[in-house]
């Protein structure tokens, strides 16, 4: 297919761009296969706006006489308005944008066409390989092994080719366990807590069904992670009621009788369209220009967004607490093990593991616990807050995770190497990107699409020193401790950086941020200067002494 077929009017002049807090600008609008480009030719302040079609969540058009107006709502939550003279031009442009922003074939997406303008120093596709992770683990313990059982994605389609499992469990047993777990997602290692040797595993729900099926290999597998005489915790991310209902559809939960060494705790984390609805309501509330405080608070409450944040964080804290304070191993699962499970396991690692609070470590966490673990990004992030499609599989699961990380970052502002911008950047790229990283729903699909060969990795770009400098937190000081966030409602806040980003001027907050950086950097320079002077002085004194001795 040629994009040109979809673009009947590639260019329109005298278009007026409206954005909140900016003066309206007149300029030229151009459509390309992947971008909407608006450029103003004002001499004093020429500017260009490039918008990826895939970033467009919805588009509305209306007419007053022959002047057409289109309102474009983006997945990054920004809303812009374009006034386009000429009814036909406007209609053409609107229909082109609609078509180009809803291409159904992945291989037509921009990452397959994007050519990087920066020097590639590191191939991000090879930055975080499972073997490297395993090497780190092997240095700490020999109780685990790397299994290639899923090499051809033959056992579990949503797992990566290699997974880490207890050494004492062979591939034959794994195959049996896979048949006992939803989507074949048998328990695998998610995190090893070096401090006390406890582990966190994740899986999907067991297929116990109504007649209480059991699987000896499954029991053996998870028991293999327990120390003699110790108990473990199973954190089920569904309420007991939902877990019980799941039995009717062949799913279920671990019965006490068959898993006597495990204590099961149910923590209810919402899923799918409930979360999407929540996002839609929240963004609607944030865009409401009404001055009525009660209305705002009641809409904020009714969106339930912060309730979800609190629930997810609480479950993650609980998992971390079991591991670090109770000295117990933990298995986390919900139904499929691709959504709430990953929220809990990844957040627990941020709480427990200082490495995950570095830039590189966080990238590795996103790769391990989200991309390789089979979070279906393409389905979940197909649409954002302005979606009308209401597809069941659309859900801001990853955005909720990032929001929770932001909440922890806000409570521990000096313990993270990255800043808020880094999290916002990941949010943007998960929904629309020039990079192939978040395409596809799992490693299987990514390998079929040949993404590593045909597209650029987000990490290749982020890890260039120029980009990294934007994402560094000036307050960062390595903190080796476990960080326990507060989950009291008073401690959790609306993530303004994402949800109010386009709804208020940011000048004063940006200035504050710059001021903070300059204070810290000035001190660092001073310190460096003092150190250098000290060294010089020391050298002088030694030279003097040497001369005296001569």
């Amino acid at each position: 297919m040629e994009f040109a077929e979809l673009i009947k009017t590639p260019r329109a002049d005298n278009v007026i761009l409206h954005r909140p807090f900016y003066l309206a600008v007149e300029g030229t609008l151009c459509l390309t296969g992947h971008h909407l480009i608006f450029s103003s030719r004002r001499q004093d302040n020429a500017e260009e706006l490039w918008l990826l079609h895939s970033n467009i969540d919805s588009i509305e058009k209306r007419f007053v006489g022959s002047l057409g107006t289109i309102v474009i709502k983006c997945k990054d939550l920004r809303i812009i308005q374009l006034d386009i003279p000429g009814m036909e031009e406007c209609l053409n442009i609107a229909s082109s944008i609609e078509a180009l922003s809803t291409l159904d074939s992945v291989i037509l997406m921009y990452p397959f066409f994007y050519r990087p303008m920066f020097e590639i120093l590191e191939d991000g596709w090879r930055s975080f390989l499972p073997d490297q992770e395993f090497e780190l683990l092997s240095a700490l313990t020999d109780e685990w092994r790397l299994s290639c059982i899923n090499k051809e994605f033959s056992v579990c389609p949503s797992y990566p080719p290699v997974v880490i499992v207890p050494k004492s469990i062979d591939d034959e047993a794994l195959r049996k366990v896979a048949t006992f777990r939803h989507g074949s997602r048998f328990p695998v290692l998610s995190y090893y807590h070096n401090k006390n040797g406890m582990v966190m595993m994740r899986s999907s729900q067991p297929l116990t069904g109504t007649n209480g099926r059991r699987c000896k290999e499954d029991e053996k597998l998870i028991n293999a992670t327990l120390r003699p005489g110790k108990r473990g915790y199973i954190i089920d991310t569904r309420s007991l009621h939902i877990a019980q209902q799941a039995r009717a559809k062949g799913g279920g939960f671990e019965q006490e009788a068959h898993y006597p060494q495990w204590r099961r705790i149910h923590k209810c984390i919402e899923r799918f369209n409930i979360l999407q609805e929540s996002l839609i309501k929240l963004v609607e509330a944030c865009n409401d220009q009404s001055h009525n405080m009660d209305r705002w608070l009641s809409k904020l409450e009714a969106s339930n967004w912060l309730t979800h944040i609190k629930e997810i964080l609480t479950a993650a804290c609980l998992a971390a607490q079991c591991i670090d304070r109770e000295g117990a191993s933990v298995l986390v699962h919900g139904t499929e093990g691709t959504d709430s499970t990953l929220q809990v396991t990844s957040l627990a690692q941020i709480i427990l593991d200082p490495r995950c609070r570095t830039i590189r470590g966080f990238e590795s966490l996103v790769v391990r616990e989200w991309l390789q673990a089979g979070h279906p990004f393409q389905q979940r992030c197909a649409q954002s807050a302005y979606s009308n499609s209401k597809q069941k599989w659309e859900a801001p699961v990853f955005l909720l995770f990032l929001d929770c990380v932001w909440q922890i970052l806000r409570q521990f502002p000096c313990s993270f190497e990255f800043n808020e911008e880094f999290l916002i950047m990941l949010f943007e790229h998960a929904y629309a990107s020039q990079f192939g990283t978040f395409l596809g729903n799992n490693e299987n699909e990514r390998s079929k699409l040949k993404l590593p060969q045909k597209t650029m990795s987000l990490w290749s770009w982020v890890n260039t020193s120029e980009e990294l400098s934007k994402f560094q937190n000036p307050l960062f000081e390595a903190n080796s401790l476990v960080i326990w966030p507060s989950v009291a409602p008073q401690s959790l806040q609306l993530w303004e950086g994402v949800f109010l980003r386009w709804n208020r001027p940011s000048k004063f907050l940006d200035e504050a941020h710059k001021e903070m950086i300059s204070i810290i950097n000035y001190n660092k320079e001073l310190q460096a200067k003092v150190n250098a002077l000290r060294r010089q002085l020391a050298e002088m004194t030694t030279n003097d002494k040497m001369q005296e001795n001569l």
Partner: protein
């Protein structure tokens, strides 16, 4: 020191709502001024000091298995939940505190006994720190239109106004006196702030005694004089900060609001800020929400909404913004009143000044602003704060709301204030502490009668001494920002956890950016000294340093010493039970070396944080005037 205790009760527990830590066990001491709780179970001595004047309510709760609970609510929003072993002890503490926290006579207030080591001269200089005349001069007064008059020197015009007030030159004594008879409690229109750039003024007064039809020629002349003092504008605003319904109800009592037909070229406007009773009950509801035991997000947000607190904060802010815009953008003068013109009017006028003039965003300026718009103009601190035993219906968080509005502005404009959040909390504390004379009584005349200026100390020099810890490291100076135009859409207002849950440390961020930046600032001074000292020792080496020296040297940061208060909360509801083999955490078998080491780390870090608490307490002791006990 210990002989000064009036009462000593042992075997007392202090419960902590937000951590899983075991309740502390210790001793309560009552002194003439403080309740002191000494935690005996902690390895490091830990003290909690509560000023009697800060105590709002004391309640005995039903007996529990642990003993007799005593719940203390403080005016600075501390909630202390004690459990006392003996009923007799509990009752004794209870009755003592009731007496001590509600003095009957003004002479019993702390300010009259507070005696820091300070010379008489310094004490007097302290009172002269905020000279309102200087502030009027800063605005260019006296000038062609405005004059500072002593017409009220014997409090004949208005006994709740200060002796010196600023009125239009065109308003002669007859007009002033005439107008005062037509204004509730004689509180005539006087100048609050003159915006020098365009001569528009903010003036304040009380409601007119207009009833349904009364009018007063002198009052009309007074308003005309105010309008004509701003030749650039053909009209002036008259803003009644009450809801229209309240203002109308007042007409039946012979009070009310200005009839637009009787005054030339005024634009009359209502801004519905609710009265002191609504505000009191709103705060009460807010505090109930803040105190809920593990509320859900929905409970909290619904409670926050139902309290109406942020709605009221927004109303005050909106009114301040309206005034500032009228003056700056429309170049029109504004006359503001409510009923008596000492609550809502004070809030709104001081907020508008803060928005218009960067001076008021400095330490000095903020002190002047409070002295001018609140203390001098007769905000009844003594009644609103319940300093003495009296009518509980007179108590209202009017000043608290103003302080919160300032905090909300700080959130939107982090670089525009010279002081930080802690400064606001300090000021708020001392409005209630009665340790300094500034906020005693209800008006200037009463403070004179109480001999405040001879017998007590002023708060301001005391706060200026602590400037280093109360400053805003991000402040970009007096000239960086002029007028502020805050966003007042509802989402711009945040719940102020640092105020209303201030003592629930577990809820606050565990690392504090402010501390980090403050330590940077103090480190900077030291580093600059070091650098220049070293440079002096290297006389022949001038010119820029080799650049690699900068990039290669390892940077140390002293800020890392800030200990974190960090323990897990109750994330599950009920805590996980003891492990199956009955081992508790402390006696796990096969504990590795690493594990041991970490435990040591943990306990070390627990101690650090306790130590830190103690330091906090000691700081507040110093503030509360501990030296006199030594």
């Amino acid at each position: 020191f210990y002989t000064l205790f009036m009462l000593q009760v042992e075997n007392v527990k202090l419960l902590d709502r937000y951590t899983n830590r075991k309740a502390a066990n210790g001793t309560v001491y009552l002194t003439a001024t403080h309740l002191i709780y000494v935690d005996a179970s902690a390895e490091v001595r830990k003290e909690t000091w509560i000023l009697h004047h800060h105590i709002a309510t004391v309640e005995k709760l039903p007996l529990t298995t642990a003993g007799y609970p005593l719940l203390i609510h403080c005016k600075n929003f501390r909630v202390a939940h004690f459990v006392i072993g003996q009923e007799r002890d509990c009752h004794e503490v209870y009755t003592s505190l009731l007496k001590l926290s509600q003095p009957v006579k003004p002479e019993e207030l702390y300010a009259f006994s507070y005696n820091p080591k300070m010379s008489k001269e310094n004490r007097e200089i302290g009172w002269k720190l905020t000279d309102l005349k200087v502030d009027y001069q800063r605005m260019g007064i006296p000038n062609d239109y405005w004059e500072l008059t002593d017409v009220n020197k014997d409090y004949e015009v208005c006994n709740t106004y200060p002796p010196e007030i600023v009125v239009p030159r065109a308003a002669n004594k007859a007009v002033v006196i005439g107008s005062s008879r037509f204004r509730s409690r004689g509180r005539i229109p006087v100048l609050s702030y003159l915006y020098k750039e365009n001569n528009a003024a903010i003036c304040r007064c009380s409601q007119p005694l207009a009833g349904f039809s009364a009018r007063c020629l002198e009052d009309e002349q007074m308003l005309q004089a105010i309008r004509e003092a701003n030749p650039g504008s053909p009209f002036m605003y008259v803003v009644d900060t009450r809801p229209k319904l309240n203002a109308m109800a007042n007409r039946a009592a012979g009070k009310g609001y200005e009839n637009e037909d009787n005054y030339d070229n005024i634009r009359f406007k209502f801004i519905g800020i609710e009265n002191i009773h609504v505000m009191r009950s709103s705060l009460q509801k807010l505090l109930e929400v803040c105190e809920m035991k593990s509320p859900s997000m929905s409970d909290f947000l619904t409670g926050l909404e139902n309290s109406g607190w942020l709605r009221h904060i927004k109303a005050v802010m909106d009114a301040g913004v309206f005034l500032a815009k009228a003056v700056k953008d429309e170049k029109a003068s504004v006359l503001v009143h409510c009923s008596d013109g000492w609550d809502r009017t004070a809030q709104v006028c001081s907020l508008a000044s803060l928005l218009l003039d960067p001076f008021y965003r400095t330490f000095k300026g903020f002190m002047v602003l409070i002295e001018k718009e609140w203390i001098a103009m007769g905000h009844k601190f003594s009644h609103r704060c319940g300093h003495l035993y009296g009518d509980p219906k007179e108590v209202s968080p009017v000043f608290t709301q103003f302080v919160e509005c300032v905090w909300q502005l700080m959130q939107q404009f982090p670089c525009t204030f010279e002081f930080n959040e802690r400064f606001l909390l300090e000021v708020h504390d001392h409005v209630y502490s009665c340790q300094f004379g500034n906020f005693l009584g209800t008006c200037h005349k009463e403070r004179e009668d109480l001999k405040i200026f001879e017998k007590t100390h002023s708060l301001w020099p005391f706060l200026l001494q602590k400037k280093q810890e109360l400053r805003n490291p991000l402040y970009r100076g007096f000239t960086a920002y002029k007028e502020l135009q805050p966003n007042t859409l509802p989402f711009s207002f945040q719940f102020w956890c640092g105020m209303y849950n201030r003592f629930d440390k577990g809820m606050h961020p565990k690392q504090c950016v402010l501390d980090q930046l403050l330590s940077c600032v103090s480190q900077k001074v030291k580093l600059e000294d070091d650098a220049s000292e070293l440079e002096n020792k290297l006389p022949f080496l001038d010119g820029p340093l080799p650049s690699e020296a900068c990039s290669l040297s390892k940077v140390g940061n002293a800020a890392s010493k800030t200990p974190m208060l960090n323990t897990p909360q109750d994330y599950e509801g009920d805590p996980p039970p003891v492990l199956s083999n009955g081992a508790s955490e402390g006696e796990l078998d096969g504990v590795s070396d690493v594990d041991q080491k970490h435990k040591e780390n943990l306990s070390l870090y627990r101690d650090l944080h306790d130590l830190n608490d103690t330091i906090d307490v000691l700081d507040s002791e110093a503030k509360d005037g501990k030296p006199q006990h030594h």
